[in-house]
Every structure is written in structure tokens, then in C-alpha cells.
């Protein structure tokens, strides 16, 4: 009981912006709006919002590994792709009866995490850090993309699932919840919306608790000064590996949800552009905070989509410009800068009132 309460206390702490009744009141308000919104919207728009939400998990994974942990990973889309393909291969082979799609979701995320254990062990216990970590993870990602892109021939199949090369896999079953009478199929509208929203809230709050715990303290300590952290008696490689694996699982969750959302997954979801975009969302939002990462990702995604109407090449150029502006104006992130400014304003106002 006591331990349970102390978990809730960790929702606030040095590693996360936002505390007190004002913040949580706003949080509740946003959540209420998010819960009510499908009632006032159409299926297409709701489905589109699900698409935005899906990407937030991979952004949070990068926030964790890069923003808090200080290791820039280009490998998040690799885990995204592995889990996406994993879900496709499992469900195309075993179908969607008896709630198997939910098992496949968990299994696909676990496969991505397992891959991260292997890759992470090799990197962190081999003391690969800094730029080299970025290079290794990028190389792995692009290798996977190249590999999947050349699997067009009929000999490339796992059971009944053809890999289909550059065109990717499609027609895997959507998430299906077994239910007496009729199973509930979560198509990419209201049903999937509530599931993904629920997962998002859970992951966001769980990460807040994790980062404000003693584990989170060690993670930011490693970012600030790995040598000092080790000389306080922490086996930093172990903590880096655990962070990397949690991040991979989150990226994998993104990948599975993306796959069930559109019922397809292609190698280009692991390509150079796909690998770069999450970096931009997170950098623009503010990589060192969970809330700014979530807000930044949603805002930039919405802007990106709005611009894509005028041509996707312009939208990509805009992304580049946005990244450069961020680095020049607010290296810690535009959204985080605004949040901190609002925080200072609020405390000044309460001071004056008090």
C-alpha cells in the first residue's frame, strides 16, 4: 500500500515538467476532451488522430533513450519495423481467433525488445557511445530496410506470410478482442482510438513514474557524466541497456499499432526519412521532457500533414527548416521553451497574488 502511494508521488519530480493542481487539472481537462472528442467527430478524422497517436510512442522511446539517457539512437525505426513485420507474420499465419491478435501484439513488441537486448548488449558492453552509437544504430536500421526491400520473390515467406519486398506486407487482421457472441474488431476509428489513447495515457504516466524514480536519477546521471555515475558504483552499461530495451519496446509498440492501423507495413517505414522524422519531432518538442515530447510530436505531425496537401517535398523541407530553427533558437526544444516560460509566468503570478 505504502509502496503503491509512493509510486503516485513519483508522478512529479525533478525529471518531469509540470506539477501541482494546475498541471494535473489541465491534464484531466485534456484527457476529458480526448475522451469525448470521437462523439463529435467522424470516423475518418478519428482514424487520422489514431495515426498521430501511434507515432507518439516512438517519440517517447527516443525521449527516453536520447533525451533522458543521452544516447542518440537512429535505431528506433528498426524496432518499429521488426515489431510491425512481427505482428503481420504472426497474425497472417495464426489468424485472429481466440484473441490471438492481442497475443501477437505483445509477442511482436517482445521480439523487438529481444532484438534490442542483443544489439544493446553488443553496443553498451562494447562501450560504444556518442556518435558511434548513432552510426551503428543507423547502419542496422538501413540494413534491415535494404534486406526487407529485396524480399520480393516468392521464396521469401515465413509460413503463409509473404514478405513482398518493397511493397511490404498487407492484409493482416486488425486487433480483435474476443467477446461472447461477436468478437470486437478494432478498425482504425473509434474502437482503436480508445485502445491507443488508453495505452498512451498509461505509457506517459508510467514513464513519468519511472523517470522520477531512483532509476530515472541514474539515467540522467549517466547522460550528465557517465564516468562520475560509474564512480558512484553504478554499472552504467546495465542501466543503458535497460533503457535501450524499454525504448525499443515502445518503438515496437508504435510499429504494431501502425501496422494494425493501416493493415500494412513496408520497408520504407525503416528508411532514412522514417528514421529522421521522429528525431525532428522530439528535438522540436524538447527531448528532455515527456510532456514536451508528446505535445511537440502531435503539433509537428499535424503541421506536417497540413503541409503535405501542398506536396510532401515541401513538408520535408519545412521539417528541416524547423529542426535548424530549433537548434538555433531553442536547443532544448521549442515546446519545452514555451512550457518553461509559462511555468515561470505562473509562479510569478502566484507570487504576486500571495
Amino acid at each position: 500500500m505504502n509502496g503503491f502511494l509512493s509510486l503516485f508521488r513519483r508522478l512529479e519530480g525533478p525529471q518531469t515538467v509540470g506539477r501541482g493542481p494546475a498541471f494535473w487539472g489541465l491534464f484531466a481537462l485534456v484527457l476529458a476532451v480526448a475522451l469525448a472528442y470521437p462523439l463529435f467527430s467522424d470516423g475518418y478524422t478519428v482514424g487520422n488522430t489514431v495515426y498521430f497517436f501511434v507515432w507518439v510512442f516512438i517519440a517517447l522511446s527516443l525521449c527516453l533513450i536520447w533525451g533522458y539517457g543521452g544516447s542518440l539512437s537512429f535505431g528506433q525505426t528498426a524496432f518499429f519495423g521488426i515489431a510491425g513485420y512481427g505482428y503481420g507474420i504472426l497474425t497472417i499465419n495464426f489468424g485472429s481467433a481466440y484473441g490471438f491478435t492481442l497475443v501477437a501484439l505483445v509477442a511482436a513488441v517482445a521480439i523487438a525488445a529481444l532484438f534490442a537486448v542483443l544489439l544493446g548488449y553488443f553496443m553498451f558492453f562494447g562501450r560504444i557511445a556518442g556518435v558511434f552509437l548513432g552510426i551503428v544504430t543507423l547502419a542496422v536500421t538501413l540494413m534491415l530496410e535494404r534486406f526487407m526491400a529485396q524480399t520480393a520473390g516468392p521464396e521469401w515467406h515465413i509460413g503463409a506470410a509473404r514478405l513482398n519486398g518493397f511493397n511490404g506486407m498487407s492484409a493482416m487482421p486488425p486487433l480483435t478482442i474476443p467477446w461472447p457472441g461477436e468478437p470486437i474488431v478494432l478498425f482504425a476509428d473509434v474502437g482503436l482510438y480508445y485502445l491507443v489513447l488508453g495505452l498512451l495515457v498509461f505509457v506517459y504516466l508510467a514513464l513519468r513514474i519511472l523517470m522520477n524514480s531512483s532509476f530515472g536519477n541514474i539515467i540522467v546521471a549517466i547522460r550528465e557524466n557517465p564516468e562520475r555515475a560509474e564512480m558512484l558504483g553504478y554499472d552504467i552499461r546495465k542501466y543503458q541497456l535497460i533503457t535501450f530495451v524499454i525504448g525499443a519496446a515502445l518503438a515496437g509498440l508504435s510499429g504494431v499499432l501502425y501496422t494494425v492501423w493501416g493493415q500494412y507495413i513496408t520497408p520504407s517505414s525503416m528508411g532514412m526519412t522514417a528514421a529522421a522524422l521522429p528525431l525532428i519531432w522530439v528535438a522540436v518538442g524538447g527531448r528532455s521532457d515527456l510532456t514536451s515530447t508528446v505535445i511537440g510530436t502531435l503539433v509537428v505531425l499535424a503541421a506536417f500533414q497540413a503541409l503535405t496537401i501542398y506536396g510532401s517535398q515541401y513538408a520535408l523541407v519545412f521539417m528541416g527548416v524547423l529542426l535548424v530553427l530549433t537548434v538555433l533558437i531553442a536547443p532544448n526544444g521549442l515546446v519545452l521553451g514555451v512550457m518553461n516560460w509559462l511555468g515561470r509566468l505562473a509562479s510569478r503570478l502566484t507570487q504576486r497574488a500571495g
Binding site: P14, V220, E224, N225, R228, E230, M231, Y234
Partner: protein, 238 residues
């Protein structure tokens, strides 16, 4: 009884013989100062003791155990702790959080808060506890890092130039801090250029020169040694 024993320790950086067959024994309970000109290999010796560098040959014994092959964090668990030459505080985090990170593996909750308060008072950093460590003065950073190193309650405390950048008064205070820790049973090995500090605290002094143990003795014997004065020629010393 000896706490730390270095036996025929050697380390090369390319062609540079930075640690040359070093034998050094620390007695439990002593304050031992390591001096020597710039580039003598003092910090490198610390890194060998801590396992950040691995010796080409030789052995490191701590409390009778051969720790030569142990990882750094495991050596810390055995009772070693260090303050680096360049202050290694967590710059982006608050002073309080710096101490919390150092202490959290041994204490929790109210006990942890009490220990942090005690350390802040010991270091004279109470009013700075909410500040970002990167904003502290150089001397304050040194103290904070000493505090983090001390908080592990080590059997052997390694201090690499603990008073660099401090005023004579601050240096003296640091000396008193070291003496208090030593009175509580901590063995101390300190690298220091400030001879006033060495005179204040050292029970024994070892001079390192070109990677070799050049001389050893009390501070008076070392200061009287003309060979030692010769290697410091051109450098300020007491």
C-alpha cells in the same frame, strides 16, 4: 595494516611510459599525499587504481584482495571512492539531486533526506541546494564532488587536486574537512600541488616523477630533499 598495495604497476600510452614499475603501499588510517610535476603520471595512477585504465603489468591489492581485473563500479563497491581532477558533478542537475544520486543506493525516504541535509551542512552548501550544479563556483563544485565521494562512506578516498581553484582560506577549510573524515576512520590518498595543504594534512608524502616513485617520506624530509627541489625547478613550491 596496509589498505592499498600497488605492485610493480606499469602503464604505457603508445611510447610513453606513464606509470613505471610503481610500488606504493597505503596504511589503513593514513592521509597520504601524492605530489609531482605536471605530467608525472599522478592522475593516471588514480585511473589505474579505479580501473578506468588497465595496467600493462603489475597488481593492485585492496584490503588484501587482488582487484586488478575488477570493473570500476565493483571497486567502488569494495570501498573506493574518488573526486576527479576536473570536477565531475552532474552539471545539469540540482545540487540536491547530485547528492541524492550518490546516496540513493544505500538510503531511502526520510533517512535519505536526513543524510542529504547532513551532507549539505558538512559542505556548507545548504543555501545552494536548489541550484543547478553547473552554476556553482569552482570551489563549490569541488566541495560538492567531495561530498558525493564521501557519501559512499569509502574506506579509501582518492582526491585528485581537491583544492585547485580555491582561495587559501577555502584550501585550509578543505584540509580540515579531510582531517575530520580521516578522524572518522577514512584513509585518504590526495594528489595536490598546494604545499600548504600537503603540510596541513599529510602523514606521508610520495613524489612521483616521470611515472616513477621518486621519493617518499614525511613532508619535512621531502621538502629538505634537494633532488626533489631540482625536479620542481622553475615551479612554485613551499
Amino acid at each position: 595494516m596496509s589498505l592499498l598495495e600497488l605492485r610493480k604497476l606499469n602503464k604505457h600510452f603508445g611510447g610513453l611510459h606513464v606509470t613505471n614499475s610503481v610500488d606504493l603501499t597505503l596504511q589503513t588510517g593514513e592521509i597520504h599525499c601524492l605530489i609531482g610535476p605536471n605530467g608525472a603520471g599522478k592522475s593516471t595512477l588514480f585511473r589505474l587504481i579505479l580501473g578506468e585504465h588497465h595496467p600493462g603489468s603489475g597488481d593492485i591489492l585492496f584490503a588484501g584482495e587482488n582487484i586488478t581485473a575488477l570493473k570500476s563500479f565493483a571497486r567502488i563497491h569494495r570501498g573506493l571512492s574518488v573526486k576527479f581532477q576536473v570536477p565531475g558533478v552532474f552539471k545539469g542537475l540540482s545540487v540536491r539531486q547530485n547528492l541524492e544520486i550518490a546516496l540513493q543506493s544505500r538510503q531511502r525516504g526520510a533517512e535519505l533526506n536526513a543524510e542529504i541535509a547532513r551532507l549539505l551542512a558538512f559542505l556548507g552548501l545548504e543555501s545552494e541546494q536548489a541550484q543547478i550544479a553547473g552554476n556553482l563556483s569552482h570551489g563549490q563544485k569541488q566541495w560538492l564532488e567531495i561530498g558525493m565521494a564521501v557519501s559512499l562512506k569509502p574506506r579509501l578516498l582518492l582526491l585528485d587536486e581537491p583544492t585547485a581553484g580555491m582561495s587559501p582560506e577555502e584550501t585550509h577549510m578543505t584540509g580540515e574537512m579531510v582531517q575530520r573524515l580521516n578522524a572518522d576512520g577514512m584513509t585518504v590518498l590526495a594528489i595536490e600541488h598546494d604545499m600548504a595543504f600537503v603540510r596541513q594534512v599529510a602523514h606521508r608524502v610520495t613524489v612521483l616523477h616521470l611515472g616513477q616513485v621518486f621519493a617518499q617520506g614525511s613532508i619535512d624530509e621531502i621538502v629538505a630533499d634537494e633532488r626533489v627541489a631540482a625536479i620542481y625547478l622553475g615551479q612554485a613550491h613551499a
